[in-house]
């Protein structure tokens, strides 16, 4: 055996593992046309029974499905947690494209709803007479499930924004609860100067948060008319937010902590991060994951630019019936039960913030003194916030893609302090290009 084994030697150096996760998909649409009818056909479908599949990641889904099956023993709901937000959307998009494998009912966040509605992948629930439920939901959530072409789900939770702040840290450092964004920036400076280990808030660059802040500031960067899309990240509302928020980024006044990480939960508990501007669904998270903050946190209205109350929605989901469903009437019946029937209470019990006016105005809910927040009646602030949501907001029909490239573009402004306007301009360019490739007619400005 005189052959050299140099080749074999090279093997010893082979230690490769290349696995790049590049997620992408784009949607067409297919599937049978929806049956039309009134609520009668939904009731009939419930009587007849059958089997449907439900995709959701909400913690209350399991209990809700069990309660529903108990109430309607002839209906079997196959509950699947197919992944959280974008993982589920990727699967849903693929199943729709493939023409099979989609669930009958899917949980979809408000920001992702237009992209499924626009590709004609969801059943218009107006066909089942659900349009008459409009008065039962807060105006801001109804506006997110209904557009000019139809009604694409019933709202489940909502996230009108408010200011959550650590009263203990505020009092100790002589910080007054900021009412305007200018006061908020001053408070950030004052707190960090008084105690360099403390920050007023954290933001490492989150598309949902940025858009909600722009929404509140009066910016309307997206306008959509069928396949025609306009994107403008230079309108006065956007500028209002960027001018204000840049001060926090460039002044290094934001805690360098990634949202939803263990560090972040820790920072909320030990006072490192002393306030959060976020959706009304946050209290449940405080109670379950920030035990150290019990008795210290309180809730106030979201700061504004001129002192006049105005908020935006941050987060929230709907349940929609997928066009591929073999039994859309039964699927609609389940959606009706979930968000307009007995499914609502278990959802609220699990810490969700409701969209239904009956609950948003019920004294039991509104006047509840919450021990975690030192006995504050926080829902008074939060239900008021849901009334103050600014109108006329639109998401892109490819918002999940948009959010996925936020960190490549606007993320730079957070990293290098190069200014949010420049970051948003880069995002806008990326979104115009992508939209045009996807068959939309997209123009900037």
């Amino acid at each position: 055996m005189s052959r050299t084994r140099s080749r074999a030697k090279a093997f010893a150096a082979v230690a490769l593992a290349a696995a790049l996760a590049v997620g992408c998909s784009s949607g067409g649409s297919s599937g049978p046309a929806a049956a039309t009818g009134t609520q009668d056909s939904v009731d009939a479908a419930l009587k007849a029974g059958g089997t449907i599949t439900y995709w959701s990641w909400t913690p209350s889904a399991k209990d809700q499905v069990a309660a529903f099956e108990k109430e309607y023993p002839n209906v079997k709901v196959n509950y699947v947690n197919a992944g959280t937000n974008k993982d589920e959307y990727t699967k849903l998009q693929n199943a729709i494209k493939a023409g099979n494998g989609a669930p009958d009912v899917a949980q979809i966040e408000y920001y992702a709803l237009p992209q499924f509605a626009l590709t004609d992948s969801l059943v218009d629930l107006d066909h089942y007479g659900f349009g008459s439920f409009e008065k039962d939901y807060s105006a801001s959530t109804w506006a997110q499930v209904k557009n000019s072409t139809g009604l694409y789900g019933l709202p489940q939770d909502s996230g009108p924004m408010a200011l959550f702040y650590n009263k203990e840290v505020f009092d100790k450092n002589g910080i007054a609860v900021p009412k305007t964004w200018a006061e908020y920036v001053d408070a950030a400076k004052k707190l960090h100067a008084a105690d360099p280990t403390k920050y007023l808030t954290s933001d490492t660059g989150d598309p949902g948060f940025a858009l909600s802040m722009i929404w509140q500031a009066g910016g309307r960067p997206f306008s959509v008319d069928g396949k025609n899309v306009k994107i403008n990240f230079a309108d006065p509302g956007v500028k209002k937010w960027t001018a204000n928020w840049d001060q926090l980024i460039q002044g290094k006044l934001l805690a360098p902590v990634k949202e939803w990480s263990d560090d972040w939960f820790r920072a909320l508990g030990d006072g490192t991060i002393s306030s959060l501007v976020t959706g009304a669904w946050m209290p449940g998270n405080f109670m379950s994951s920030v035990p150290g903050g019990s008795g210290k946190w309180a809730v106030a209205p979201m700061p504004t630019y001129d002192g006049q109350p105005v908020t935006a929605e941050n987060g929230g989901s709907t349940q929609s019936v997928v066009k591929q469903s073999g039994n859309p009437a039964l699927a609609a019946a389940f959606v009706r039960w979930l968000n307009h029937g007995n499914g609502v209470q278990p959802f609220i019990k699990s810490g969700g913030f409701p969209s239904t006016t009956a609950d948003l105005t019920s004294p039991a809910f509104v006047d509840e003194a919450v021990p975690y927040f030192g006995g504050q009646k926080i829902n008074q602030v939060l239900t008021q916030a849901s009334k103050d949501v600014a109108k006329g907001w639109t998401y892109l029909p490819y918002q999940t893609y948009a959010n996925s490239v936020f960190s490549d573009t606007v993320g730079k402004a957070y990293l290098n302090g190069t200014g949010l306007d420049a970051g948003l301009a880069a995002w806008q360019q990326a979104l115009v290009d992508y939209g045009n490739q996807q068959g939309f007619t997209v123009s900037a400005g």
Binding site: R3, F11, V22, N81, A98, D157, W260, D262, S289
Partner: protein, 287 residues
């Protein structure tokens, strides 16, 4: 310049320092994982990353990991083992047979195969995931174990490795001698070739095993039901529970689960290391 003695090569301080740094760099995440897998969820939120969190909760965490959500972790572990044994095992067998065939037989179209295999090495499997999904959907195979196993059977890189290795490691004279002795081609492959190829086969087996064990994107899009998830996708779903409204963070179980997930890989490496190394040095010195 001092002359070097043959038996004692000169020590390079720079190299030693660089390797030491590299060692720290590779081990820190592992150390972090071991330390933090032993913390309770509240301790994770109250102590810093590289310090011990008061109580030692590793066994508690392991217990919880195994029982959480009706013991779905075991199911995921079983799925992963299934995908690795059938997928990576099959990939190794196919790559070995094909690589040897391409290295040692002359047939028309060999160049075309060569080009296709080389091209396939260059295409990241992730890029093929969505088209593969659509194809499998037509066949009605999505959301079944086959949807993960069948694509895993194809390892162009493994095939290429065996090919290169076989071209060198198996002298043509050996095959001719076997043929003159009257052995059939299949028998030659099983009795003569395989033994010669062991180091290459072990390398490919390790490589495909790691790849399948860590496979994430393909199962993520192929499978919608958690009951078929491998560990990677399952743990990620646990991790995602910490996000957004109604979040239920179970970081302690994610960490413990991750620790348990890498143990089999470490064991596999330690076990297969011997074959691999002995094979590499065999025959490197002229007897």
């Amino acid at each position: 310049m001092k002359t070097q003695s043959v038996t004692r090569p000169r020590k390079s301080r720079t190299l030693t320092a660089v390797m030491a740094l590299y060692l720290v760099y590779t081990l820190v995440p592992l150390v972090w994982l071991v330390i933090n897998a032993a913390k309770t969820q509240p301790a994770l939120f109250s102590t810093s990353g590289l310090s011990f969190g008061g109580t030692f909760a590793l066994f508690d965490n392991i217990g919880q990991t195994f029982t959480y959500n009706n013991g779905i972790f075991f199911r995921w572990l079983g799925n992963t083992v299934l995908y690795v044994v059938v997928g990576a095992g099959g990939a190794t067998i196919l790559a070995t047979a094909a690589g040897y065939g391409l290295a040692k037989y002359r047939f028309p179209g060999r160049r075309a195969v060569f080009a296709i295999v080389l091209g396939a090495v260059a295409v990241p499997t992730t890029a093929l995931a969505v088209p593969t999904f659509l194809m499998f959907s037509k066949l009605g195979l999505t959301n079944t174990p086959l949807a993960v196993i069948i694509p895993s059977l194809i390892s162009p890189f493994g095939l290429y490795l065996i090919w290169v290795y076989a071209a060198d490691a198996i002298p043509d004279e050996l095959l001719e001698a076997a043929r003159i002795d009257g052995a059939g081609e299949l028998r030659i492959f099983v009795t003569v070739t395989l033994r010669q190829l062991v180091p290459g086969i072990v390398t490919v087996a390790l490589f495909t095993m790691v790849q399948t064990w860590n496979n994430y994107f393909l199962p993520l899009i192929m499978l919608s039901e958690p009951k078929w998830y491998p560990l990677t996708v399952g743990l990620n779903q646990w991790s995602a529970q910490a996000n957004g409204a109604g979040a239920q963070p179970i970081f302690n179980l994610v960490l413990t689960g991750s620790l348990l997930t890498i143990i089999p890989l470490v064991v596999a490496f330690l076990l297969m290391q011997r074959f691999w190394q002995s094979g590499l040095s065999a025959g490197s010195v002229k007897q």
